[in-house]
């Protein structure tokens, strides 16, 4: 089966049969969108919550807000319908912990919140999620059925 790797600050779309995967998600968030009627899957690997917070925002796939918009655009080109889209999200871990408050280290949590906000604005329902914690995740989105496989080191494997 065709397997497409999605890197950090990148996104991609596939029509069944095929798998989209992103390896070693840490504080970034993997956003999986799926249209089961047309069997179109899309996966974004975002790094930051908002393109509006910073000046250098040319790479749309880097941010939750613009990344989701771009992902939907690309899925529609592949034959997906926006009204059919559902979402699954994973990642947003806090890999290192410190006593002092450090917004950079809480970035995982902020990425998850921004992703949820954006999806809710677009009326896309989040069916399931595996977010937070202090460990990395590898995810695989299957375009055949929209299942999202989440693999970790020492925290199990599950399908959400």
């Amino acid at each position: 089966m065709k397997v497409i790797k999605v890197g950090m600050a990148d996104l991609n779309v596939i029509k069944a049969p095929g798998i989209l995967t992103t390896l070693g998600l840490g504080s970034c968030v993997g956003i999986a969108l799926y249209d089961k009627h047309n069997k179109v899957a899309g996966l974004a690997h975002i790094m930051l919550p908002s393109s509006k917070e910073i000046q250098n925002n040319e790479n749309k796939a880097k941010f939750a807000d613009t990344g989701i918009d771009l992902l939907i655009e690309k899925m529609i080109i592949e034959g997906a319908k926006k009204d059919f889209l559902i979402a699954k999200i994973a990642g947003g871990a806090q890999m290192f912990s410190f006593n002092k408050d450090n917004s950079i280290l809480k970035i995982g949590e902020r990425n998850v919140q921004a992703t949820k906000r954006k999806l809710s604005e677009l009326n896309i329902k989040i069916i399931s999620e595996d977010t937070g914690g202090n460990y990395g995740r590898t995810i695989e989105l299957n375009a055949e059925d929209g299942s999202l496989l989440v693999k970790t080191i020492g925290h199990g494997v599950k399908i959400i």
């Binding site: 390896l23 840490g26 504080s27 970034c28 790094m47 880097k62 290192f96 990395g136």
Partner: protein, 202 residues
């Protein structure tokens, strides 16, 4: 200042800073172990986000990362990374244990954090002496996980200002080759500017 606008001289100077800083760090490690520790010439690297995790054997490779925050006049962080076997070997050496310990227990984690602390402090002390800039180092935080997940932390810090990550990498190995690791110095872009101007380059 932009990651893409660094000229060769700036890159050479950053490399030299890495050389002096990690030289001191590696000497400290050698003293701790009473063994020879070699290092390569530090490399100044500018990588796309996609390429970052291909360091250290790929995104899913199990590694130990020890992360320390830099603050005051230079901000950013220092990361000390080892593959899991090297981490186990190093902790066994530090604790004078037999090689039978196959997992990192609390003792090992604490010993490795302390190594991270000593390496980072010696690196930063020489950086501070060289530039006259005040730098403080946080307590170390350690994670055992996929390389991609650990490297996402410094990558995100660069994500705010650039589409690449700029860092100074030093690869070192203990004489018998049972411990290999990487030291990454990742100052933020403003700090690069400060470092270069403190040395009269900017």
């Amino acid at each position: 200042m932009d990651v893409n606008n660094l000229n060769d001289m700036m890159i050479d100077i950053l490399g030299e800073i890495g050389n002096i800083g990690s030289g001191n760090a590696v000497t400290a490690l050698a003293n701790m172990l009473s063994k020879r520790v070699d290092m390569n010439v530090p490399q100044v690297k500018i990588l796309e986000f996609n390429e970052v995790a291909t360091l250290l054997g790929g995104e899913e490779n199990l590694v130990v990362g020890i992360y320390l925050d830099l603050d005051e006049e230079i901000r950013g962080n220092i990361m000390f990374m080892l593959d899991i076997e090297s981490a186990i070997n190093l902790s066994n050496m530090l604790l004078n244990r037999e090689d039978t310990v196959e997992k990192l227990d609390d003792m090992a984690i604490s010993a490795l954090s302390e190594v991270g602390n000593i390496l980072a402090s010696s690196y930063v002390n020489s950086l501070s002496a060289l530039t006259g800039l005040k730098i403080t180092v946080s307590v170390p935080s350690l994670a055992i996980d996929m390389a991609g997940a650990i490297l996402s932390v410094p990558a995100i810090q660069f994500g705010y200002i650039a589409d690449q990550v700029l860092f100074i990498e030093t690869v070192f190995k203990e004489g018998d080759n049972t411990v290999k690791g990487n030291l990454f110095l990742l100052p933020d872009m403003n700090s690069f500017k400060k470092i270069l101007s403190s040395l009269g380059v900017l």
